[in-house]
């Protein structure tokens, strides 16, 4: 237990369900994973698998129709789920964990100068004076590669890539140990995308920040990943080191997902996964991937346990 407490983040049985008129959406359904200091984990999954809801559950950014919200989230050893909403806001959000939401570049306030927006979290959460915060913002701009004179510009004067960098600078300004990135480059051009990943790698190296990268883009996710977690229908079905995962994923879903990636440098024809991911309402008691799985057996009617194999974890009967 004490060894676990050393970890930066430990998520245990995290559950987040939403109430809707047609039933309960089991978006996050019993998630377990941990992440160490100065590491990056990629959460891979198709749209609708609950990966963005997982980020919201960790940061307690909840909508109104929450049906169930439970589990444990330890940040640096202390249980942040036990905190009140106000304590959570003061001590965790931005301070411990910050987030770059999906399409962050479009979430900047259009009528406030970029520099002021980047400095704001530092003023609110670290209690520093305006000048001090602007100094921090200037430093962060340097880290993410935005020219200093952009501090006094408005968002519309910046290109998409520059705005995305500003959003990352904003997440960095309070010097959190962990940044959650939700599809950070999906709306950006290829060269800009490569630039942003260079920035993230540099931040990780220079500032020792950890990252949770949420994406469906497997190829670019490998630019940052130390570890990979594959999500399917609200659950994590495989976790492992990137160096083990990318060459040989274990779970049949992960294998098919990898086979679906078109490759520039290999002559392998990509394959697609037949069928649709299940609706997150009324999930079957069987393995959730069983209806699409080419390797299904009778045993798959029961929910598979998480099986450890050579330091990797996989939720599949094949490895039992």
């Amino acid at each position: 237990m004490s060894a676990n407490r050393e970890k930066l983040l430990r998520v245990e049985d995290l559950v987040l369900h939403f109430r809707t008129t047609v039933g309960t959406v089991q978006a996050v359904d019993g998630i377990n994973f941990d992440l160490d200091y100065n590491r990056a984990v990629v959460i891979l999954g198709e749209s609708g698998c609950g990966k963005s809801s997982l980020a919201k559950a960790i940061l307690r950014l909840l909508p109104r129709n929450v049906g169930a919200y439970s589990g444990k989230v330890y940040l640096g050893g202390s249980d942040v789920m036990a905190l009140s909403d106000e304590e959570f806001r003061q001590n965790v959000r931005w301070v411990g964990i910050s987030m770059v939401p999906q399409a962050a570049m479009n979430s900047l306030n259009p009528v406030i100068r970029v520099g002021d927006q980047v400095a704001e979290p530092a003023m609110i959460h670290m209690g520093v004076k305006k000048e001090e915060a602007m100094k921090l913002a200037r430093q962060m701009f340097e880290h993410v590669g935005v020219p200093e004179d952009f501090l006094v510009r408005y968002p519309f004067e910046l290109s998409g890539g520059m705005r995305q960098r500003a959003a990352i600078a904003m997440a960095l300004v309070t010097a959190p140990n962990l940044i959650i990135l939700d599809e950070p480059t999906s709306a950006l051009d290829l060269l800009t995308q490569a630039n942003i990943f260079n920035v993230l790698k540099r931040i990780k190296k220079e500032l020792g920040t950890s990252f949770i990268l949420i994406t469906h883009d497997i190829a670019t996710s490998s630019e940052l990943a130390d570890e990979v977690a594959v999500m399917y229908a609200g659950q994590i079905v495989e976790t492992g080191e990137a160096k083990d995962f990318f060459p040989a994923p274990l779970h049949p879903y992960a294998q098919m997902l990898m086979a679906s990636v078109p490759r520039l440098r290999a002559d392998q024809d990509p394959e697609f996964i037949t069928g649709q991911p299940p609706s997150l309402i009324n999930l079957p008691p069987s393995c959730r991937f069983a209806p699409r799985c080419p390797k299904r057996r009778d045993r798959c009617e029961q929910d598979p346990p998480i099986i450890e194999k050579d330091g990797r974890k996989v939720k599949c009967w094949l490895y039992a």
Partner: protein
């Protein structure tokens, strides 16, 4: 009816003897920039001197970043914009000289697959109605025939059982199914040319491959000419015979897919390839070599080669002064770059 009005002029033949469907010559599409609605203060040179031939039954890919003019090029080919200079010739006729009836015929010959399937389908129309509309406009009078063609095209895009999908509205379909309906709509007039603008960029990874394979299958079975517009180099090789790389309004490199992927000539093509990742854990250990800066403004493009401010292999005094013409260092592989003079 419209078809008989149009006489097909002499047929162009390509270098390898294949007939040419689409011939584009020195095409410029400029948009006026006005200040307060009065007086032209400049032009956005979205497409600036593009020439190429598309053979019958050939699939090509236009690769470039957003803002490089690839969408303006596509819209001009679709007949939505008129060329400022140069011309687009389809089956021997200039589209700027077609007139109304001619354009109506032309639009039935060209199918368009949009990027965002949900945005491209009217939310208040059922699948049947969406597919019937082009047939009604195209003058197919018999209800029976229209239904038969709708059924046939839905089977071709592998949406069966067809009866289940006919009454559905777009919001009841998954992203992949919506894109199939968009493809079916593009195919229903039995066009000779399909233009697909990033047809899979809004879809999930696992569905992308399925849709690309479907498009490739249709292209081969109907011997369609195909223009695939994308920024994703990793998908083009499964899809097309030639690649055109577009930067700031120009086609900077043109050539067969194998030649370009093995031996990219233009420094920009090189950068695009370097920026494309394959899933590999070793990627995390190195930084990518990315040219600095951003694509130039198309209102005042840089003098000389438009890539020179970002180019790692710039020849000072040459690249920043003179616009590079097209060189052909190997057969059928052209590049606009002074390095190959």
């Amino acid at each position: 009816m419209a078809e008989s009005d149009v006489q097909v002029k002499e047929q162009r033949i390509g270098v390898d003897g294949r007939p040419i469907l689409l011939h584009i010559e020195n095409l410029r599409v400029w948009f006026e920039l006005r200040r307060f609605g009065f007086g032209i203060v400049g032009h956005v040179r979205a497409v600036d001197g593009v020439s190429f031939d598309l053979h019958k039954g050939e699939a090509i890919a236009v690769v470039g970043e957003s803002g490089c003019g690839k969408s303006s090029l596509m819209r001009t080919i679709l007949g939505l914009y008129m060329p400022t200079e140069g011309h687009v010739e389809f089956d021997g006729q200039k589209i700027s000289e077609m007139g109304r009836a001619g354009l109506r015929w032309y639009r039935s010959q060209v199918g368009y697959v949009q990027q965002d399937p949900y945005g491209a389908l009217p939310p208040f129309m059922s699948v049947q109605r969406i597919l019937e509309e082009p047939l009604i406009i195209g003058g197919v009078k018999s209800k029976q025939e229209r239904l038969a063609r709708i059924r046939k095209v839905l089977e071709e895009v592998k949406m069966y059982p067809v009866e289940d999908f006919l009454p559905k509205f777009p919001h009841m379909l998954s992203g992949g199914q919506q894109q199939r309906v968009v493809i079916a709509r593009a195919m229903i007039m039995e066009p000779k040319l399909i233009v697909a603008d990033e047809p899979v960029s809004m879809l999930d990874a696992s569905v992308r491959v399925e849709i690309l394979k479907l498009l490739r299958g249709l292209q081969e079975s109907h011997n369609l000419s195909f223009i695939y517009i994308t920024h994703d180099l990793s998908t083009v090789k499964y899809f097309s015979e030639r690649i055109f790389v577009m930067y700031a309004g120009n086609l900077v490199e043109k050539g067969p897919i194998g030649a370009i992927l093995k031996n990219p000539l233009h420094p920009y093509t090189f950068a695009l390839m370097a920026a494309t990742s394959d899933p590999d854990a070793r990627n995390a250990e190195t930084y990518k070599e990315v040219p600095p800066g951003e694509p130039p403004s198309l209102v005042k493009p840089p003098a000389g080669c438009r890539f020179h401010p970002r180019c790692p292999r710039i020849i000072p005094g040459k690249c920043d002064v003179e616009v590079p013409p097209e060189f052909e260092p190997e057969p059928n592989h052209q590049v606009q770059c002074w390095l190959y003079q």
